[in-house]
């Protein structure tokens, strides 16, 4: 599998909805269109809701991965301002 270049990483472990998405949204506002954001989280519901919300906002989900018993990473590419 090809490596995805990550432009920004955030760790939102410990946060629950809607702050998981609030933090993710603020982070994606801070990068440029075409750049990627990797989100590390441990709130299971957000591993489903963040990808859906990001797509609703017009961004591209590149990867959602469960990396251990408690954590997920979500990789998003910013598609629009």
């Amino acid at each position: 599998m090809e490596d995805i270049k990550i432009d920004k990483r955030i760790n939102i472990k410990g946060l629950i909805c809607p702050y998981t998405f609030v933090k993710s949204k603020l982070a994606i506002e801070d990068i440029e269109v075409g750049e990627t954001l990797e989100i590390l989280l441990d709130y299971e519901e957000a591993s489903r809701s963040i990808p859906k919300s990001m797509e609703d906002h017009g961004h591209k989900i590149l990867k959602v991965e469960k990396i251990n018993d408690t954590d997920w990473t979500i990789t998003v590419r910013k598609e629009k301002e």
Binding site: P18, Y19, F21, V22, K23, K25, L26, E29, S53, D56, H57, G58
Partner: protein, 266 residues
């Protein structure tokens, strides 16, 4: 400016809206809105703008809180009878949101003070209850090119319109001349259902927030009329009038007049 943790929580339902986001919320926090009147309309407008985080809210009103106000003027309360309305509103709004600075002015708006009062604000909201003030505010906003969100209420009916000087209509394009004193009853003479002020004030606050965000349509060239008894919202087209006395091609009104002539105010 970075959001504090408290701000992230307070504004979370704004930030997750695509039309607002962190950038839009920062625009709201940096915005300065001037409200004419701390009464029926000024209360809900100021309340929602304070909740939204509008950083500076200017308010002018010369009255004190009376018992007969409390059926609709929700920023005040029974313990504040006799207190200046702008002081009461400041206390309410700043208690709701410490991010907000309310600048209260205990005075009557007039041709001599209005230009100075509104010149440093981004948007003006008219929540006044009489025609002389409404025309004064309109003319001053046209002259300074300030966006104006105007509202009015009577009995079971409300009206809202948004004036963008240079782009759309103004209040005089809509109603050329002030109606003669006594022709249109005041809310003191005719009554008003208190909750109507909340509907109209919330519509005005929404117009203000859309102007701040630069999102969506506003009531430019449009008068929105709400009939509560029939539960009907009606939009009336109001074209910009090139012959308008204040915003037309050859305006005859180039400075503020004595709007009170012939009017007795209560």
């Amino acid at each position: 400016m970075e959001f504090t943790d408290d701000q992230l929580q307070r504004y979370s339902r704004h930030i997750i809206l695509p039309e607002v986001g962190g950038k839009g919320q920062k625009k709201i926090l940096n915005a300065k809105v001037f409200i004419i009147g701390a009464g029926g309309l000024g209360c809900p407008v100021g309340y929602y703008l304070a909740a939204a985080g509008v950083g500076t809210i200017g308010m002018i009103d010369n009255d004190t809180v009376e018992l007969s106000n409390l059926q609709r003027q929700i920023a005040h309360n029974t313990k504040r009878l006799g207190v200046h309305k702008v002081d009461s509103a400041k206390e309410t709004f700043e208690a709701l949101n410490p991010d907000v600075n309310v600048v209260g002015i205990k005075d009557r708006i007039s041709k001599d003070n209005i230009l100075d009062l509104i010149k440093d604000y981004d948007i003006v909201v008219d929540g006044s209850d009489n025609f002389p003030t409404r025309y004064l505010v309109n003319d001053a906003c046209v002259m300074l090119k300030k966006p104006l969100v105007s509202g009015a209420i009577l009995k079971f009916e409300g009206q809202v319109t948004t004036i963008l000087p240079g782009e759309g209509h103004c209040y005089r394009c809509l109603f050329e001349e002030m109606p003669p004193a006594g022709l249109v009853p005041s809310c003191q003479e005719a009554g008003v259902l208190g909750a109507i002020t909340g509907v109209v004030g919330a519509l005005q606050a929404t117009e203000v927030l859309k102007l701040i965000l630069g999102k969506g349509d506003v009531l430019k060239n449009t008068l929105l009329i709400y009939d509560a008894l029939k539960v009907n919202f009606r939009r009336v087209k109001v074209p910009k009038n090139n012959d308008c006395a204040v915003c037309g091609l050859n305006p005859s009104i180039t400075e503020l007049q004595d709007y009170d002539a012939g009017y007795c105010r209560i």
